[in-house]
Symmetry: C2
């Protein structure tokens, strides 16, 4: 048995050198495969290393090469499949180039993000991929950039910082999908997002997230092009836990001038929104139309299958990683920069407006889901 209960000291080059009866320098050369080493010495060293089960200490190596071969990834919430997939794209790509990934979760909290960035920098990661919680509070990102450490942004941009950013053109797809809804006759379209903000929403509100403000801009433009007024009163931010999302959903769907279509800002919200709609005894798409961001596999399983905005999430993660690695290795950024387009996947959750003649023929599904009705109060 080669084990001895206590954790034995690690084998170092010095140990190998002694066993092979050569100097530490020679052993290091043979092991590190650099410099000039005679065959005889190389063989003895390698044999000794094998025998002793020598493994280089990457920490020590990083110390004087200055490279840790590790990249830091900072996301809002890995629990969200969106980031799960993106992370997968990142790690797959990183591994291919010999990089490891330290993952930090911020809960979409800027303070946590600032902290995460600091910690990762302290650990001397070679570069960072950040999905910034805020597009406004970006001093910490600016500092990273100014210190010269490679940094790539994912999903959202940072105001005033010319950083390489991998994201889809949200305004464009938002325009397209809003247009689609408008064409189906909808005028009262609600938008629900978890984005935390202090102020009540209005056109002038400066939002913390480039992603959300781009989407709203897209919606507003679509309304303008259609010669309609954008229903700002149906924008609901600060959607938090399932309960609050449910309440917000009820709010926009009840009252004097209710929404006829609801757009959910991400897959997690979508779950609660759809549940709330079902609980209210409303049918999709007969009573309410529904559209969500991110194309998760389960959206094909509901009745009706949901109409979604699909984003090439995995590819974006992979692109962010390879862009970062290019930066780290001093190679020029890919030109032209790869573009990522979101696409509207028309399935069955968007229909005509109830009690009104649809302007054009939108995907009006005739599926009538059987729903558990829990009377609306």
């Amino acid at each position: 048995m080669s084990s001895d209960g206590a954790r034995r000291r690690d084998v170092t080059v010095a140990d190998v050198a002694k066993a092979a009866q050569v100097s530490k320098a020679q052993a290091a050369r043979a092991l590190g495969n650099y410099g000039a080493v005679s065959d005889d010495v190389r063989e003895r060293v390698l044999a000794a290393a094998e025998e002793l089960e020598y493994r280089p200490n990457e920490l020590a190596r990083s110390m004087n090469t200055g490279k840790s071969h590790t990249i830091g990834v900072v996301v809002g919430d890995i629990e969200n499949p969106h980031f799960g997939l993106a992370t997968r794209g990142i790690t797959d790509t990183a591994k291919k180039s010999g990089y490891n990934v330290i993952l930090v979760n911020t809960d979409e909290n800027t303070a946590a993000e600032v902290d995460a960035v600091r910690v990762l920098l302290d650990k001397r990661v070679d570069g960072l991929i950040v999905a910034p919680a805020s597009s406004v509070e970006t001093q910490h990102l600016r500092r990273v950039h100014e210190s010269g450490r490679p940094l790539v942004l994912l999903d959202r941009s940072a105001d005033g910082l010319a950083l390489e950013t991998v994201a889809v053109d949200m305004a464009a797809i938002s325009y397209e999908s809003t247009r689609y809804l408008l064409d189906a006759g909808h005028r009262r379209i609600a938008f629900i997002s978890t984005l935390r903000t202090d102020a009540e929403y209005s056109e002038e509100t400066r939002l913390d997230s480039s992603q959300i403000s781009d989407r709203l801009a897209g919606m507003r433009r679509a309304y303008a092009d259609a010669g309609r007024e954008f229903p700002g009163d149906l924008v609901r931010l600060n959607a938090g836990d399932a309960g609050s999302i449910r309440n917000l959903t009820r709010e926009v769907l009840l009252g004097g001038d209710p929404a006829t279509a609801v757009v959910a800002s991400d897959g997690l919200i979508a779950l609660s929104v759809v549940e709330a709609i079902q609980e209210m005894g409303l049918r999709i798409p007969d009573d309410v139309s529904f559209l969500m961001y991110d194309d998760f596999a389960w959206t094909r399983l509901t009745t009706p299958p949901l109409t979604v905005v699909a984003q090439p999430v995995y590819e974006m993660g992979a692109a962010a990683a390879s862009a970062l690695i290019r930066q780290i290795e001093g190679r020029p950024p890919l030109a032209p920069a790869p573009e990522f387009n979101a696409t509207l996947v028309r399935r069955g959750s968007v229909g005509a407006v109830p009690d009104s003649e649809p302007a054009h023929s939108a995907a009006s599904s005739s599926f009538s889901p059987s729903l558990r009705t829990s009377a609306v109060p």
Copy 2:
């Protein structure tokens, strides 16, 4: 502007010491908050550090403390929400104790896992959490254990290794859910898993995954207790991509003696199985009953909502992390060890056997999903 394009050398204790006009040792003491330091010196050092924006190099620190405050997490697939959630539990807990997480994906490939473990060890992580791809090929885990480095297993155990393992009692819940299916009158229950294996399945086959073999053991026991013979011909392993899962699903659902109930081994498989069932024009639960492992939120949204085996995944991740950290910090393991139980969540996807009188009253839902029918060939 304090920035200068080029990446400037990091500020070190020596720099701070010089600025504060004290020795390197004193500066280090003041900064590291250890040893004896006069108030005067401490103030000067701290001020200088602030001024120079000094940040300790964690790599160097790790080098001689031997602690990296980093733990390695090796999972099969973060894309799978199961691991996404578990990872969240791990990172949340790790962060609370000041640890970071390096995440590695193995694609459920043992060779990749061996490699991942080696790399993490080289990086001198303080400990490892591994969801082993195989319960049989575990030499690399044994080596880790013998080297004395803390290691905790997640989800699956490793044959012959007495390692702290955080997992639910799969045999028990499998027994319970099989029993449930049997009580509903099902005799032909299919089980579909991604587990890769060379051999055709038979009772003697020694499976690579403790998790899967436990589940099958539970099923077999339930059948035995019911005085029935276990339909080994309906066990389908090696389910890979969506296409192959579809084919396997058709296989068990067609033919002379088809399955009347299908159990999907995880959420990813479930998606394709349900799609395949829908495509075949079969209705759940009227024509086929369905049960899956892992309780994802979307399972409540389908029509009918799916009956699932819920596992406290987040809590298990958190428990694995805190167990590991206890080991790292030399504290004794929690006694009694926390237990995790999976629960059967009866929703609407399990019904009576078509054309047969149900033995007992199982959750027989009357929902009839409207399905796109694509005629069965």
